[in-house]
Amino acid sequence: MMNKMLFLQNIGTRVFETFRGFAYAMGFFFLVLRETVLYIRQRKSRRVLTFQILFTAVEALPVIAILSVGLGAIIIIQGVALLPQFGQGQLVYTILITVITRELGPILTAFIIAARSGTAIATELGNMVVSHEIEAYVANGISPISYLVVPRFLGVTISLVLLNIYFNIFGLLGSFLVTSLVASIDVRDYFFNVLNALTVMDVTVSLLKSAVSGAIISTVATYYGFKVEQSSTEVPVMAIKSVGQSFILLISANAFLTVMYYLWV
C-alpha cells in the first residue's frame, strides 16, 4: 500500500513538474518575443546579432552545400529510376520540389543548426551562468534576455531561413548535375520545369517552417543554457537535453505545418 502511494506520488510530482516546466518555458518564449519587438524598435548595436548570423549561417555553408547537393542527386536518381515504371515520369519535378523545398530543406537545415549552433548556444550560456557572467550583465543593468537571447533568437531564425534558400538552390543544382550526367538536358529546360512545379505556397510553407524551426532551436538552446545553476558538469547535460528537446519539437512543428498545408490547399 505504501509503495503504491509512493508510486502515485512520484507520478503526480513528475506530472506537476512537467506542467510547471512547460509553463515556465512558455513564459520564457513570450518574454523573448516581447524583447525581440523592443530590440527591433530600439535599433541598438547589432554586433551580437551579426556574430550570431556569421556563426550560424556562414560557417554552416560548406556542410549544407555538400548535404543538399548529395540529397538532390539521390532524389533525382531514385525519381528517374522509379517513376517512369509507373508511367509518372513527369512527376519527377513535383517530387523534387515537394521533397527538397517543402520537407527536407527546412527540417535538415534545422537539424544541422540544432546540433551545431543549438549546442554551442546552450553550452556558452551555461558556462556564463557558472562563471557568474550572466549576473554581471544583470548587475550592469543589461538584460540578458535583451542582450544575449534576442540576438541569438533573431540570428538563428534569420540564418535558418537563408540556409533553407541556400539548401534549395544547391539541392536543385545537385539534381541537375546528376541529370545532366545521365541525359543531355538543357539547363533552361530543367530549371523551367522545376520553376513550373514550384508554387508560391511551396516557398511560403518552406520559409515558414524554417522561421518556426529557428525560433524553436534558439529558444530551447537559450532556455536550457539558463537552466544551468551552479556546476560546470551541468553544462553538457543541458546541451544534450537542448538538442534532444529541439529535435522533438522540430519534428512536431514540421509535421503540424505539413498537415496544415494539406488542410489549407
Partner: protein
C-alpha cells in the same frame, strides 16, 4: 542612494540560505558584511543589489520596493550600482577593454568614445592597472581580473558599490590603492557595501557591521557597539575572520576601534 532590506529571506528546496535580514545603507555610509565562508554573504550582497530577488521580505531602493518595479526601471536603478563579484565575473568572450566599456556603450550609445576611453585610462592609472586592455580576461592573473572588475564597477560612476571580497587576490600595493579609492568614494558621498575579511577595510571604512552565520544575522551594529559586544559567537566569528583565534579579545578591539591598520 539608500538601500534597505526588510526581513529578507532566501530559501531553496534544500532549505533556508538566508533568514530574516533587516539592514540599511544610507548615502555615504559603509556597511561591512562579515561572516565565515558559506555564511551567505555573497547571496546577501546579490539580493541587496537586486541581482537575485529574495523569496521573503523586501528590498527597497530609495524607499521604493524593487519587487513592484518594472524591469526597465529596475535596470535603470542598477545603473546606480557598481558590483564587484568575488570571482571578478569578467565576460570571457570580450577583451578587457570591452569589459570596461560595454555598459557605457550599451546604455549611452551616443556618448563620445573618447570620453569613455579617458575614463578607462584614468581609472586604470588610479588602480595601477597597466595590463594590455586588448587581451582576454583569461590571460590575466586572479588579482588583475579583480582589479579590472573593480574598474568596471566604477565606469558609470555609481552611487553605491557592492564589493564582494574586493581585496581578495590583490597584492598589498594594489590593496592600498584600492583602500584609498574606497576612502575617496566614501568622502564623495558614495555608499559602500563590502564583504571582506580585510582588517584595514574594517577599521578604516566601516560605519556599521553586519555579522552573519549560516544565513542568520548575529549582529548588526556600528563599529563602536560591536567592539563592546559580549556575544561570544560574534566575537568568535570576528576572531576567526581576522585569523586571531588565540588572542582575539584584545586584537578585535584594536582592529575595529583604531583607524590605523594594526597589521601595517
Amino acid at each position: 542612494m539608500t538601500v534597505e532590506l526588510r526581513q529578507v529571506g532566501y530559501s531553496t528546496d534544500e532549505g533556508a540560505l538566508l533568514e530574516d535580514v533587516t539592514c540599511e545603507v544610507r548615502e555615504g555610509e559603509c556597511l561591512l558584511v562579515m561572516g565565515p565562508s558559506g555564511s551567505g554573504k555573497t547571496l546577501l550582497m546579490k539580493i541587496m543589489a537586486a541581482i537575485i530577488p529574495p523569496t521573503e521580505g523586501s528590498v527597497l531602493f530609495d524607499h521604493a520596493q524593487t519587487a513592484t518595479m518594472p524591469d526597465r526601471e529596475l535596470d535603470r536603478n542598477r545603473l546606480r550600482h557598481g558590483f564587484v563579484f568575488q570571482d571578478a565575473a569578467l565576460w570571457q568572450n570580450l577583451s578587457v577593454l570591452n569589459n570596461l566599456t560595454l555598459a557605457t556603450q550599451y546604455h549611452f550609445p551616443k556618448r563620445d568614445p573618447g570620453e569613455t576611453q579617458r575614463r578607462v585610462d584614468r581609472l586604470c592609472r588610479t588602480l595601477a592597472f597597466s595590463e594590455d586592455l586588448m587581451q582576454r580576461p583569461a590571460r590575466l592573473s586572479a588579482g588583475e581580473r579583480k582589479t579590472a572588475a573593480i574598474i568596471r564597477s566604477m565606469m558609470l560612476n555609481p552611487e553605491i558599490y557592492f564589493m564582494d571580497e574586493p581585496s581578495g587576490g590583490l597584492d598589498s600595493a594594489t590593496t592600498n590603492h584600492l583602500l584609498s579609492v574606497l576612502k575617496d568614494l566614501k568622502s564623495q558621498g558614495r555608499s559602500l557595501v563590502i564583504a571582506s575579511h580585510d582588517s584595514a577595510i574594517a577599521s578604516q571604512l566601516a560605519d556599521s557591521i553586519l555579522v552573519i552565520d549560516q544565513g542568520r544575522v548575529l549582529a548588526y551594529a556600528t563599529v563602536e557597539q560591536l567592539t563592546r559586544t559580549t556575544d561570544t559567537r560574534v566575537r568568535q566569528i570576528l576572531a576567526d575572520v581576522f585569523d586571531l583565534s588565540s588572542t582575539y579579545d584584545a586584537d578585535i578591539l584594536d582592529i575595529l576601534g583604531n583607524n590605523d591598520d594594526p597589521f601595517a
